[in-house]
Amino acid sequence: MKLTELTEQLNSVEEFEREPIPPKAIKKWTSFFGLYAGEHTAGTEFVIGPLFVAHGVSTGDLLGGLLVGNILAVLSWALLCAPIAVRERITLYYKLEKICGPTLTKTYNVVNGLMFCFLAGSMIAVSATAVGIPFDLPLPKLTDFYPNSATWVIIVLVIGLVTTLVAMLGYNLISYVANLAAPWMFLVFVAAALAVLPELGVHSLGDFWDVANTKIWTGTPLEGQSKFTFWHVMFFSWFCNMAMHIGMADMSILRYADSWKAGLGSVSGMFLGHYIAWTASGILYSIFLLNATDKLAFAPGPVAYYAAGVAGIVCVIVAGWTTANPTIYRAGLALQSLSPQWKTWKVTLIVGLITTIAALFPALVMKLLDFVALYGLLLMPMGAVIFADVYLLPKLNLKVEKAEKEKLAVNWAAGLTWILTLVFCLALNLLVGIEIFFLGLPGWFVATGLYVGLSKVLK
């Protein structure tokens, strides 16, 4: 009964999936500030800030890298994604179908859906570290790959099951809880960090720089962790949402904007979430490290509990849950595109099971930086294809939206661009030793050039 009501409710929502946004649905560009602020202050922030500390970034490199990287991310939204979104006013998926053909778009959706599953899995694992506090859960370590105890497995399975059930039946509820929690969650990050600063030896703003260099971002990585520099931080903060801006996934949101300036709304998410929250969670982790007997233990739950008590635990659970839940729902929708007649709840159930199994492996959290970089990199070539199809192909008298015009299942210029770009990036990584964080930039230029070249050759 509940499912029927929900299905009817979802059916009644007009999302303009296969038509341009009508003028009445367009929103002022300023209304995007709140949306981005909420989206980018989430469960992942409890992991990314501490991982920078674990990777031994220095204070200057962190603060400088975050400043430059986040500005570049905002510009990518404002100058690349938003202009195409407001010009086309259709979803990324519909645009991809026109350019690449339905079969290639479905492949994209499967890759996207699986990436969503792993992202949601890491957030379930983050929540588990908070839920496990009363049960004396043995803390997972930075070097752990497999589950380290039966308690971990049971807690993850329970959280995964609950999250999946809510994603199946109550997506609207969790999205509502996320809206309620957003301003409070941001303040918990800031308050928790402020409250532990005196323990680190910061009693006035003047003390901060010295303490930060000696006790927080010391420049020395933890055992077994690679060393991060300014460039790692800059490229990571620029490309951690690469799928959204350069990869064009946010076309689906920004198509509602009255102007390309809506892309500038991302400044709120980048600087409240990816600057202040990452910095704050790094501070929290450093006090945890100072007190920890095992320096490799890594668990956002106990870190937040130490600094903010019960509010900290609730914050980690809510942050993890409200990130995992819509992500499972989105993954379900992406995979459902393979066969629209599949029932949404059944697809969501399968996605939830994949997510829960993934969450059992702590490596997903410990390697979140690499995973997020990989996620953006895998989807980036299709953003470059859209960019070239919109701006470059018309100037070269090449056919735009070829798959739609020629009724192709696969536009091989786009398909080969995707494959060859990833092969190029893999070769740079394996043969030249360039780390994953730096592959997006050369990859984008290669993808753009390949698509233009292949469109000409396969004309």
Binding site: N172, Y176, N179, L180, A181, P183, W184, L187, V188, V190, A191, A192, L194, A195, V196, L197, P198, E199, V202, H203, A308, G309, V310, A311, G312, V314
Partner: protein
């Protein structure tokens, strides 16, 4: 009535951040701060459900 919920919402957020500033200044203990943060959380969620429409 709505004004009351706004005031309570502000109180909830205030109890989340202001005691932490006082810990930083040395005028409040860490354990007191955690209690205030918990009370602030409860007040915020109560008020926010009235202020933010579904």
């Amino acid at each position: 009535m709505k004004l009351l919920w706004y005031l309570l919402g502000g109180l909830g957020l205030g109890l989340t951040i202001i005691p932490a500033i006082m810990v930083f200044n040395g005028s409040l203990s860490s354990s007191e701060n955690k209690n205030y943060m918990t009370i602030g959380m409860i007040i915020w969620f109560l008020a926010a459900t009235k202020l933010i429409k579904r």
